[in-house]
Structure formats: structure tokens, C-alpha cells
Symmetry: C2
Subunit: 534 residues, 2 copies
């Protein structure tokens, strides 16, 4: 049986079992008491309702529904909020949505009902379809609860500016609570979408990042989060669709690896039965093996792990790698061209199909539209260096770019070429990994490149050494223990085509495309040295 | 910088540094000697060639090419083997391929040149385009080496049965080695594709699984492996395309989790900076959180980890999960219908677009075509039980299916309904995890299901409990430490729609669709309690 995850949640942490069991007992008792109290309260509510029911003609038109436990198949189709338009005027429809806000006003209660990024105004008013008890009930439904409503769609004369469905409202005739939210929310959605700074000026709250992440289930409901992660889903789809069209094969590479096959610093250790193993820092060895195994062009999308104690806006300990590797014929620029074209297809796809999401994110986090050229701008490292020096930076020829210099160069490139995306080619050999192919025309250079979005690196790649002998030499030069990389080197002993590739960080691409400033905003459940939950 | 994987392969294992360094030195010395010998040998070869060159009119038409190091961009287009047909007769073309076999015969040398699953016969013959030295050179190229050839395409009168391109052969005019394979291969490709049993009869070798897996780079080059993993890539694509069309959103869930949020037995421990963490046994908590966060319908494709010490044909410690979770309206059969339709779309896509791959695998591993019904057959657990009892099996009403009983039931279902795919619905509550929604109409049953292909389970799923109170009660009944699953339960406190889902094992789907018998055949780099490499 493939068992699913949460089951058998027996002790994992190795605490004193007795202490733990006492603690657990106490907790469970507390939980049980809480549950009892809640049940009591509900009974009271039900009782209250009962006394009022006697003179309530609408008593069957509202209430807390029995838990949906698949009691029966119901022949009721639910309309989506986004499909509500004047075309449906005067139809009586059912829909399921969250109570976004509610406001009682005399004999009426105005609700805003929400589905993802769409919402609509709804009204329960005392009349022949609703009693005053029903209006009171509606007014008391806690925010974020899920309700089923039967309602008549009405065209409105004046646009409802505060809702996505501006031309209609709903006149509710029945309302049932499907799932009740606790009254006290850990954060308010309207605070969570307030543009930075705006809150300060008007004395209104914004929500800090840790509160958001601690309560991610609610934070992800905001229009901004919905837009970010729908766009992220789109990036993955565009990446794969483009590569599938180019004849790439998708591969699945192992994440648990033995030390010997890959090695490396900043690696997480896993206890593996009676031995130790490691979490892959990239699928590189495996995608190269696939090239040596004749798959010709491969890609993979999956988690990569970095045990770096970096607490910055752009480092995660676990992120999603969009990895590419391909054989080429004579020049690694064939690889660069494939990758940049893939990026351009992604940018175009986002621009053409995700405008709503982009606009939504921009409302909270304003940024300039992302600019790119066709074909992609490719500069040599030494050209970049010259631009930086001209701007007053002092740097050696074989020195790597610091983060501030990367950003500065990004600004200089933007000024000069009007693009937010470019390739920096031919890095100094000295700053690249041992498996990087040296430049045949200049021993200090290498056939390697980085790609940048808005001045931040999103991809690092190179032509790889495909010759076991040269690879051995280069590893020795780097004083790498050959024993530890034997499997890697051996992969190239039985005929290996020239090849190259690169790894793209998904969260960075989304962050930088949208002009956001923290990679945690584009990771659903980010992991960093200080955060492992939720 | 996003650094790629193999770099900085400094010590990971904590050995005595001095001993290690000595060992490393010795190794490196040995490697250096080996390299020197090889260089010497190559120099000798080059020398030999030189003495013969003087009277060799074809001396510029063959040789070992300089390593492709992107010296220059070459304006030469390479033709693919699969595109070679009589339509190109008498064209002079360039192509790059592996030397699959070579056989010298007097003044001729016959080569079979291979690209993935395609191959073509090629001939170098002494004449005005090739000298006897050139023929000798070609005959000496080691198998699996990669060569560039310039050749004239010739139509043949008699079909070449042993090649995929049966109607043409190549008359080679130039041949250069691009990457030389070592002469001694750890396994022969022709042995690796020999149907099981056939080798025994004819006294010819087959390759055992460990040899294959130890030398995966070569084993993956076989037509069978190429077909299996191209089909696997297709399964992923079909899965996602189908779900994207249905409005699902792709999500990325973390693999490193804190104990408290998920818990569970059979979990791998990771050391995480100064604390410990665990590898996710499924993305279930996270996909459920996404449902509670209004993503409505989500899927993810990614590794899942099981620290089970099971050494069977169908268990891996790391496999690829195709996971689905969705909100539904009134009955969890909406979820079953979505999943079974997705599976049917995959089966159809494979049947319609991967016939070549299926046939290729069948040549080595014969099996019956995979059968499925539309709509998918859904049986209740008690019906399955009745069929088993009728066949003589003794089982209690609330007992889980053993593996042999699963297989037997698969055979009974196939006989009765002529399908290799079906759903078993309404498992006894007692054999399912605590978060499974009980059946409202029968307290001993649950709203849960498994799906089977050729009698083996490929998916386990259920309606989940979306109510924090009921979830608490069920966890307490299962004596689960509530503290450890607090984050899980809290996810449902702020309004949660009814929802359900399931997790599919990619490797199992591929294995069972193709009628293979070991999940290691459909995992590129399988992980089990005894295997961590390559």
C-alpha cells in the first residue's frame, strides 16, 4: 500500500516517553474540554434558534448545515462567482463561497462573498424570503466561513467598485453554513493585501512576514497570494511546454544521494537505515548521466537542498530547481540559445496570459513591467567588468561579482540596453566549479554563464567537461578527492557527447519577474535556517 | 549565486584528515599515472598514424577530433538517424552517432550507427574516398564511441532487418571520433535487451539487475530503457495536461518538514542546522492546506520518502508522487471521478502516442495490452470481499487486503469485467488513517478508496475530515499525540471546504501499465534500503 502522509503520527522526537505522555494527556484533556465547551455553545445557539424558530416562517431557509460527509449525491449545480454577470440577471442560483465581510444595517445584512480572487456583494433583507432571525443569523456568521447560498442575481445601476463582480449583486433567499471559521482570525485579509507604507500613513495595520508565514493557510487566501502562486504554476507549465516542444525529455532524479557520488559542502545529512546519506544540492550529476545515456536533451523540476546558513532575501534552504541539460553539436552557445529562448517563452506566456495576476500583485507591490529583448542580450564577462569599472567599481579580472556589483551591473545594463534579462558569458575559470569547460581560446576564461533578471542571478550554467581525463585533471587542480567523485568521472568513460546546461531557481524567477523583494513571497512554505514550519 | 551541485566536493565524510589525504594522494598519483599511460598510448597511436599518413591519400578524412570545446561555431547541420530514408538517397550528409557495432570484412568495415532507439547501417570501403588505413581506423573504433561521419545516403535493395532504418545505408566518406569509449564495457547493450529466458536457451548472456543499476549510464542507452523513460516522461505530461485542463493549480510543497507538523513512522531524519527535521512521506498536509487556502483543486509532482525497510519488487525508499487534492461540493465521488478520468486520459494518451515505446518494451518483456473501461469500474470493498470469499479466501469484514489477495482480486475482476484498472471504494474505517472521513451511513466504513492496475495498488485516497473537532476526536481515538499534529488540525479552524484526493506512485503506474515486474525498471536511479548509488 502506498500510504499517505499524516497517518500513524506516533512519536518521532525522542523525548522521555513518560514526560511526553503526561504532556500529551494534559493537552488532550485540554482539547477535549475545549471541544466540550464548543459543543455546549453550539447547543445553546441551536437552543436559541429553536425558541425563535417557533415564530420564524423562514426557519428552513438558513442554519448550520450538517457536515458534508457525502451523505448523498445532490443534483445541484453551483455557480462560480467569476461567472456572475448581468447575463444571469433574475436567475435563481446556488453558490458556495466564503464570507469575506458582513455588515448588518437595520433590517438588512450586506455580505461580500468571495471565491479566490473574485467577490460579489450579497444582501439578506427582511421580507417575504427572509425573516429578521435569518438576517440576524447571516450577520453573525464569522468571516472566512464557507456558506451555500441560494440567491437571485440582480443587475445594479451603480457599479460596485469594491467587488470584482461590479455589475450584479445577489439577493439571498437561503443561506447555510458549510464550514464555520473561528471568530478570531490570526490575521485580517484586508491588512494582508494593504500596500506597504499605506498602512503607516493611515494608521492601519499591515501584516509582517512572519505572521503571514505562521498563518500561511489564511495568508495564501489573499488576492496577492492567489495571483503569485497561480503565476508560479504558469511558469512551471510554460517551462515544460516549451521544452517538450523542443524535444526535451522530462527526467526524475533522486534527492537522496550517497556522499561518494556527489560530495560537496553545504549539504544536509540524512540518516539512511544503518548509514548516512545526503540531500542532493542539484540534479546535475543525474542530468549529465542522462545525457551520457543518450537522452540528448533533458529537463527536471524538483526540490534542491542547500544547507547554507544564509539569512538573506533570496536564499532558501529548499527551493524548486528548473533544470536543463542538453547535448550540443559544436558550440555551447547552442545551449545558451535554448535556455534563453525558453526564458523568453516564459516571459511572453506570463505577459500574454497572466496580466490579471500581474496587475493584482502590482496593486500591493508596485513594480515596472518586466522588459526583455529578442534575441536575448548576451554580454561577455569582460564587457560587464568594463561597464562596472567605468561606473567606478574596482575589481580584478578574475574576481567574481559580488551581490551589490551584480545589482549595479543590472542597472547599468538596463540603462544602456533597456532589458531586465540578460546573459553574462565567459566567466573567469577561477570562479567556476571544476567541471566547467575551460575556454579553448583563453586559459583564464571558461565556457560558462549566468543569467540575470532585474540584476539578480537566476541561473548558473556552463559547458561541462565531457572528457574523463580532462575532468580528472581539473579535479586534481582543485584538490578534490578523486575517490569521492569517481562515479561522476566514470560516467564519461564510455562515450559522452559535448553538453551543457543550467539550473534556474523557480522562486527567484517569480520574485524577480513580479518585482518582489523577498523570495519567501514566492515560496508557498519557505524553508530557511530559521523556518521549518508550517 | 545559485551554485550547481558537484562543485566544492570537499570532505563530507568525517575521516581522519591525514589518512584521507594520504589515501587521496595515492589515488591521485595512480590516476595521474593512468592518464600519463593513456597519453603515451595516444601519442604512439598518433605516431603510428603519422608513419602511415605519408602514403595515405585519405589522411584528412578520418581521425580523433580535437575535444569539442566550443572552439568555433560550425555551419554544419547534422541529420538525425531517424530521418534517414530513401527520400534522402544520394545526399551527402553529416551525422553524429554512437558506434553500436563494427565488423571489418576484408577491405570493408560495416558499422551500425545508433542514436537512441534508432540505428542505421554504415559502410567504409577502400576506394577513392577511403584508404585501407581509414578502414582500419574505423574498424578499431571502440563500441559506444561517438563519431561524426560524412556519408552518402544509399537506398538498399534488400531491407536491413537488424536496423530501424531498413531502406537505406550510409557510405562513409569521412569519420572522426568525437568521444572515445573505453574498450571494455561493463555490460553489452545486446545482452541488456535480450528477453528473459532467451539467453539461457541459447547460452547467451543476459544482464542481472544489479549490474544494470550499477552501470545505469550504459543500461539506460538500451532501446528498452529509452522507451520506458520516454513513456514515463509522457505519463507526467499527460497527468499535468489533463489536470491543467480541469482547472487544477500546480503547487510546490516542501520536502523538509518539522516533526511537529506531520509526524509518522518510517520517516527519514535530516540534520537541520542545530536541530533535526524529517523528509516528507507525502505532500498531503500541504496539499490540504492549499485547499483550505482556496486553491480549490491542486496537484503536485515530486519525490516522497519512505524509510521502510521493505525489499520487495514494488517498494522504493524514494519515489515520485503524482498527488491530487480537490474541494468537492457534496459527495467525494466527485473526487474519484476526477482522478479516474485523469487516469483514463493517461491510458489513452499512452495508447495513442506511445505505441512504439510500448512495442519496444514488449519485445523484451512481453505483456498483454493494458485494458480499461469508460467509465472506470468502481466496486465497493464489500463486493471485492464477496468475490474473494467466493474464490475461497477467508477474511474478516474489517480486515485489510493482503498483497496476494489484492492480486487475486485483480485477476477475478479482470475475468469478470475485463479491465486492468478499477477502484475499490468504501474501505473499512479501521484500516485507514485517522484523517479519513467516516461513512455517514455505516460507522464501520469510510469514504476512502484505493485504485488498482493489474491487481496492484497505485493510489490510495479518501475524503479527508475537514472539521477540526471531528479530526481531533478521530486522532484521540487513534491515540495520536495531538501536540504533534496541532498545525495540521489548526489548518481546518478557519473555514475548510469538503475535500478529498489521493497520491499516485509514478514508477508503479509505469511498471504496471507496461506489465513489468520490478519498480526498479521504471525508476531511473532507484533507491531502496540496499541501494543509494549511482
Amino acid at each position: 500500500m502506498i500510504k499517505e502522509g499524516v497517518q500513524g503520527a506516533a512519536a518521532v522526537a525522542e523525548e522521555d516517553p513518560q514526560a511526553q505522555s503526561k504532556k500529551a494527556q494534559k493537552k488532550q484533556q485540554k482539547e477535549a474540554e475545549k471541544a466540550a465547551k464548543k459543543a455546549e455553545k453550539q447547543a445553546k445557539l441551536a437552543g436559541d434558534q429553536k425558541t425563535e424558530e417557533e415564530d420564524d416562517f423562514a426557519k428552513d431557509r438558513y442554519g448550520v448545515a450538517a457536515m458534508v460527509q457525502s451523505q448523498e449525491k445532490m443534483d445541484r449545480s453551483l455557480v462560480l462567482v467569476k461567472d456572475l454577470s448581468p447575463a444571469r440577471a433574475d436567475e435563481l442560483i446556488w453558490l458556495r463561497a466564503r464570507v469575506h465581510t458582513s455588515r448588518a444595517k437595520g433590517k438588512q445584512c450586506f455580505l461580500v462573498l468571495r471565491q479566490q480572487q473574485f467577490n460579489v456583494q450579497a444582501l439578506v433583507a427582511v421580507g417575504d424570503r427572509a425573516s429578521k432571525q435569518m438576517v440576524k443569523f447571516a450577520a453573525n456568521i464569522s468571516k472566512e466561513s464557507i456558506v451555500d447560498v441560494e440567491a437571485s442575481v440582480r443587475k445594479v445601476d451603480q457599479k460596485i467598485e469594491s467587488c470584482s463582480q461590479q455589475d450584479v449583486e445577489l439577493h439571498i433567499e437561503r443561506i447555510f453554513v458549510i464550514s464555520q471559521a473561528e471568530a478570531r482570525l490570526p490575521l485580517q485579509l484586508e491588512d494582508a493585501v494593504r500596500p506597504e507604507g499605506e498602512g503607516d500613513e493611515e494608521g492601519r495595520a499591515t501584516v509582517n512576514q512572519d505572521t503571514r508565514l505562521d498563518n500561511r493557510v489564511i495568508d495564501l487566501r489573499t488576492t496577492t497570494s492567489q495571483a503569485i502562486f497561480r503565476l508560479q504554476s504558469g511558469v512551471c507549465q510554460l517551462f515544460r511546454d516549451t521544452l517538450n516542444k523542443k524535444g526535451f525529455v522530462e527526467i526524475q532524479t533522486p534527492k537522496i544521494i550517497s556522499a561518494a557520488s556527489e560530495g560537496g559542502a553545504n549539504v544536509f545529512t540524512v540518516s539512511y537505515f544503518k548509514t548516512s546519506a545526503y540531500l542532493a544540492q542539484s540534479p546535475q550529476l543525474y542530468k549529465q548521466m542522462c545525457i551520457c545515456a543518450d537522452f540528448d536533451k533533458v529537463f527536471c523540476v524538483g526540490p534542491v537542498f542547500r544547507a547554507e546558513d544564509s539569512n538573506t532575501h533570496r536564499h532558501l534552504t529548499e527551493f524548486v530547481g528548473l533544470d536543463i541539460e542538453m547535448a550540443f553539436n559544436y558550440h555551447y552557445h547552442e545551449v545558451i540559445d535554448s535556455i534563453t529562448d525558453t526564458m523568453v517563452q516564459i516571459f511572453k506566456g506570463l505577459r500574454d496570459n497572466f496580466q490579471t495576476e500581474i496587475q493584482t500583485v502590482n496593486k500591493q507591490f508596485p513594480s515596472e513591467p518586466f522588459k526583455f529583448l529578442e534575441p536575448t542580450l548576451r554580454l561577455e564577462y569582460k564587457e560587464g567588468l568594463a561597464m562596472l569599472r567605468e561606473a567606478g567599481v574596482e575589481m580584478g579580472d578574475e574576481e567574481d561579482l559580488s551581490t551589490p556589483n551584480e545589482k549595479l551591473l543590472g542597472r547599468l545594463v538596463k540603462e544602456k540596453y533597456d532589458t531586465d534579462f540578460y546573459v553574462l558569458d565567459k566567466y573567469p575559470l577561477a570562479v567556476r566549479p571544476f567541471y566547467t569547460m575551460p575556454d579553448p581560446n583563453d586559459p583564464k576564461n571558461s565556457n560558462s554563464y549566468d543569467m540575470f533578471m532585474r540584476g539578480e542571478e537566476i541561473l548558473s550554467g556552463a559547458q561541462r567537461i565531457h572528457d574523463a581525463q580532462l575532468l580528472t585533471e581539473r579535479a586534481m587542480y582543485h584538490q578534490i578527492d578523486l575517490e569521492k567523485i569517481k562515479a561522476y568521472i566514470d560516467s564519461f568513460r564510455f562515450g559522452a557527447p559535448p553538453h551543457g546546461g543550467g539550473g534556474i531557481g523557480l522562486e527567484r524567477v517569480c520574485m524577480l519577474y513580479l518585482g518582489l523583494h523577498n523570495v519567501r513571497q514566492t515560496s508557498m512554505f519557505p524553508r530557511d535556517p530559521k523556518r521549518l514550519t508550517p
